[in-house]
Symmetry: D2
Subunit: 346 residues, 4 copies
Amino acid sequence: MIKAGIIGSTGYAGAELVRLLLGHKDVEIVWYGSRSYIDQKYASVYQNMFRLAEDVCRDDNMKELAKEADVIFTATPQGLCASLVDDDILAETKIVDLSADFRLKDVKVYEQWYKITHASPQYLPEAVYGLCEINREDVKKARLVANPGCYTTCSILTAWPLVKEGLIDANTLIVDAKSGTSGAGRGAKTDNLFCEVNESIKAYGVATHRHTPEIEEQLSYAAGYPVTVSFTPHLVPMNRGILVTAYASLTRDVTWEEVRAAYEKYYGKEYFIRLLDKGVCPQTRWVEGSNFVDIGFQLDPRTKRVVMMGALDNLVKGAAGQAVQNMNLMFGLDETEGLRLVPVFP
Amino acid sequence: MIKAGIIGSTGYAGAELVRLLLGHKDVEIVWYGSRSYIDQKYASVYQNMFRLAEDVCRDDNMKELAKEADVIFTATPQGLCASLVDDDILAETKIVDLSADFRLKDVKVYEQWYKITHASPQYLPEAVYGLCEINREDVKKARLVANPGCYTTCSILTAWPLVKEGLIDANTLIVDAKSGTSGAGRGAKTDNLFCEVNESIKAYGVATHRHTPEIEEQLSYAAGYPVTVSFTPHLVPMNRGILVTAYASLTRDVTWEEVRAAYEKYYGKEYFIRLLDKGVCPQTRWVEGSNFVDIGFQLDPRTKRVVMMGALDNLVKGAAGQAVQNMNLMFGLDETEGLRLVPVFP
Amino acid sequence: MIKAGIIGSTGYAGAELVRLLLGHKDVEIVWYGSRSYIDQKYASVYQNMFRLAEDVCRDDNMKELAKEADVIFTATPQGLCASLVDDDILAETKIVDLSADFRLKDVKVYEQWYKITHASPQYLPEAVYGLCEINREDVKKARLVANPGCYTTCSILTAWPLVKEGLIDANTLIVDAKSGTSGAGRGAKTDNLFCEVNESIKAYGVATHRHTPEIEEQLSYAAGYPVTVSFTPHLVPMNRGILVTAYASLTRDVTWEEVRAAYEKYYGKEYFIRLLDKGVCPQTRWVEGSNFVDIGFQLDPRTKRVVMMGALDNLVKGAAGQAVQNMNLMFGLDETEGLRLVPVFP
Amino acid sequence: MIKAGIIGSTGYAGAELVRLLLGHKDVEIVWYGSRSYIDQKYASVYQNMFRLAEDVCRDDNMKELAKEADVIFTATPQGLCASLVDDDILAETKIVDLSADFRLKDVKVYEQWYKITHASPQYLPEAVYGLCEINREDVKKARLVANPGCYTTCSILTAWPLVKEGLIDANTLIVDAKSGTSGAGRGAKTDNLFCEVNESIKAYGVATHRHTPEIEEQLSYAAGYPVTVSFTPHLVPMNRGILVTAYASLTRDVTWEEVRAAYEKYYGKEYFIRLLDKGVCPQTRWVEGSNFVDIGFQLDPRTKRVVMMGALDNLVKGAAGQAVQNMNLMFGLDETEGLRLVPVFP
């Protein structure tokens, strides 16, 4: 059994990790970390875990945790993982960091977008960007994985094959993303109250959202040239789900079949990426609770653009599911272990 | 592998059966029945099953299905199962009927509340009422199980121990139940449109809902005398979940601990019934997607009543989950097989 | 023009007062009180008021406000109004208190349920309980009106005629109430976050909710004997609306028409109470945004009970609308002025 | 009093017309048209109108209605108004058509996108496109007004000043629109059931939605050259509201103030268009129930694009409110009469 510890287990992503790991036959959770609920029973915070997770929450002590755990998941705000990790810890345990600390290779870009000083940039070179479908082989060998952001996972996977194959001009890419409210976290903020979110939709972080440089960095690798994108997130009155609608100019006349072939080339054998049939648009309801990304597209000959669409569950493939997928790879398990979840509908 | 067929697989309860059985290691679905979608791919109706359930839907042919399947689930409107079942079929396969056809032992009561003639009352004596926690031993030997209704499962389990132990006067019982909208089915009715249900709550079927006699029959067994209850269902703007708030007059002064002991006596060893800690009220969000029933209660010395509360997922413990639980019992499997689902939250 | 001041204008009830008073032809708002947002533009807190309410928020200073305003609305937590009011203020202005401070005539009951000391019990005798349809003539002469609670307004109005006419035994009354989330206020609490409320229903304050003694006091007046009721509130995933389902034993055999006649006797001429046609159940969606209370009922001959149902918008008839109705009466205006709002649907 | 008739009064847009006209001091509704509910009481279909709209529904008879009414609103599917209108009718009454029949000047474009033959193209030249803020003077003189679509109103108004002033290249315009579910109408379709819409978001009609040519035609007038746009509508789990997020490349370096000045030039004096303060993004919750359009924008120097955002209530400014605004202009009333509605929040 792999012993797993979770720092930040009482946030929504942390709680989803608990849900997934409780159903993973090869893993045992040995540490429920939560600074806000130290010594309280985990199930008193998340009553859904009543009788399933009877442990109490523990303070953030990565050094001690590293001794107890084979893998540590940090589902915490940016800055924390970078401030705690050190050589001793990495010698004893593997880390899947769900925060942004090790996602961007260029520390300057990190500090510019996140407005904090990076506490351990020395680990940036070795950290592997854990987008499993793209970096699978590197993940397998990693001891420190930077789990991608929810918007980023959806945005990058949706556009990747067409950028890589040169079918679109990546600098014309406009990503309009819509997220359920669990993405905003469990902090008690007026803006996230039921009455404020319900019956409304809004854009936020326009032209300034921190997932932008992450999307750009990865798509630049795919394109082979520096890519700048417009990225706009929106808050939708639902619990889970991200839908990305991405627009880009085609570099040449293409048929639906050619575009489809590009997607097949990269994702044809992927379990977690479902390429939808012609004319079918992804919907978040069809992936809820699962680790799937559903992808579809529509050509628009009038504007010579393609509209790419991707949907995932922000807490699963957008966070905890992908973290477990990374863990599976890092420990040589079947990549889908504990993740063959059938989407829950309705 | 147990071969399972589902008649009515494209309703919400049927779809939930598909979800659960796809995750059940001992079962293989051999028949996706659906009169409305004959020859269409199941996953084209339920896109969440894309690449998971690639079969096409088949017409209702119970005779043929009985030859192919070890167990048949009928997730259909009342009347259908009773009209199709016969000795030949029961000789070849087991049946878990999710409709109301075999729930009431008195055919007159059935015909009075459902306004249809029962097509095969001869099977009523042998049919077992599949409330597993109450009738476990009978279910194990049954070939025809009447799977309880969603409201009834929640109502009966919430009140049963206090009725059985004589702590409450069962004829003072008032059951105020609240259900998510999936309980209304997938039929295209104006009343169930998003805009009609959202931002509203209503009572319906007041004093006339068909689950009433089912609750009364079972609680009469517990009480040992004929029980009449007030039962009022309500429609709540959410997908899943039933919450029952049940009121009854206490027959004598009791302490919280005495009432708790009564619950423990009947449910203390049950996996799927979670008796909540003192002061904790059940909430549907804590059971969503799982087969749990959460039960709590509060004494009210001012009125000499007890307020009993129960919550479950209407599609799982209230329908498909309980059906699988019954199947597990009928086939001698671990009762929790395929049902150790961690509730999905948020 | 009546000059109106609002203390607590940035809570949901206060904001609804702003909405209603902005549409009231005889009223001008001269004071937007809000301790949390002093000197900030009201419209920066409630962006819906952009260009409609351009004033800044002011601190709670009832003495100064009394000099500027003809009427003061206190939409604040219990305790505040009682601690601020004095003879000088009441000599200069009228007060409609939306808190609980002056609702209960017995200060001991207040202190027992609210766990605070009442700061000015000397005004309890003169304060009028502002349930307009019941106490209209007293309200007209009042200078201090205690605006009823949201649950209480709905509960009392729904049951009043049958209690008054002796058709039901008031001590058998069980009130199961369901409320939208705006009733929980705008405070930033985890429990009221979108993801916590959405897709869930729960009871809370079981056997202990503070609206209980208020319902009991008023129904005791109607009954002519001391009344004790079971009252259970529930939180529903919607913004607005309260639905009350009330159960009571009939004192004798009655027909639907007799019960209807009792309702007609008290409400037949009321503009804001709509007695629904036979067989029609109230739904919160039909009253949203308006000052209406919709009432229906169903006899249950099997249990010899009646099920009474009432629906209102908790922010309008349950708070701000009733406050304006009270103000209209206090100032000799048409009672419906500014309140002939057509319910907003969908 | 202006006598108004509504054909299609039992759809959501028709019902919103009823709500608005009941609150309009100069209008009396003389005809509740509804083919589906002939001879049924209007309030039995829309119970919110109980005691407010006591008339019965009448069949579609525009000839007779023209004799009774000073203005006819047709809130019907495309094709109906064009098939009924004739010279006699237009000689007797004014028409505000909420369908698409007279929105597009080029009958070929209409027939190509709507797949039906236009029954009365002879009225296309005289019909005025009723986007009041743009075509105010023409509307005043019109007898046949084509009320714009909901998506179109929001899209055009959001982009118009920047197109008109040449600040953006209109052919780079990408309009990503999100709509509440009332926009899908009240027809009983599985796709619009609560459980199907709730907890999901999807794009639909990608590259093929019928509002596209309407946006293009109007923006071509503004641009002075033929404009082609990408337009993608999305369905959001809420009742009301449209949010448009529109992206376009700037034609030159501009400051925030320059862009703001362009908006001020066209909308500075408009009552119903609210230009938000710097940094404030429109949200549908702030306009719900009102006739406002809230507009904001954000420059993105990295991509040399501007992100324009607009929000309105699809049933008010996107349908019935704009229809009443058009009626006010056609009859020489104050343009805001009956429309100074304060947005309802929460």
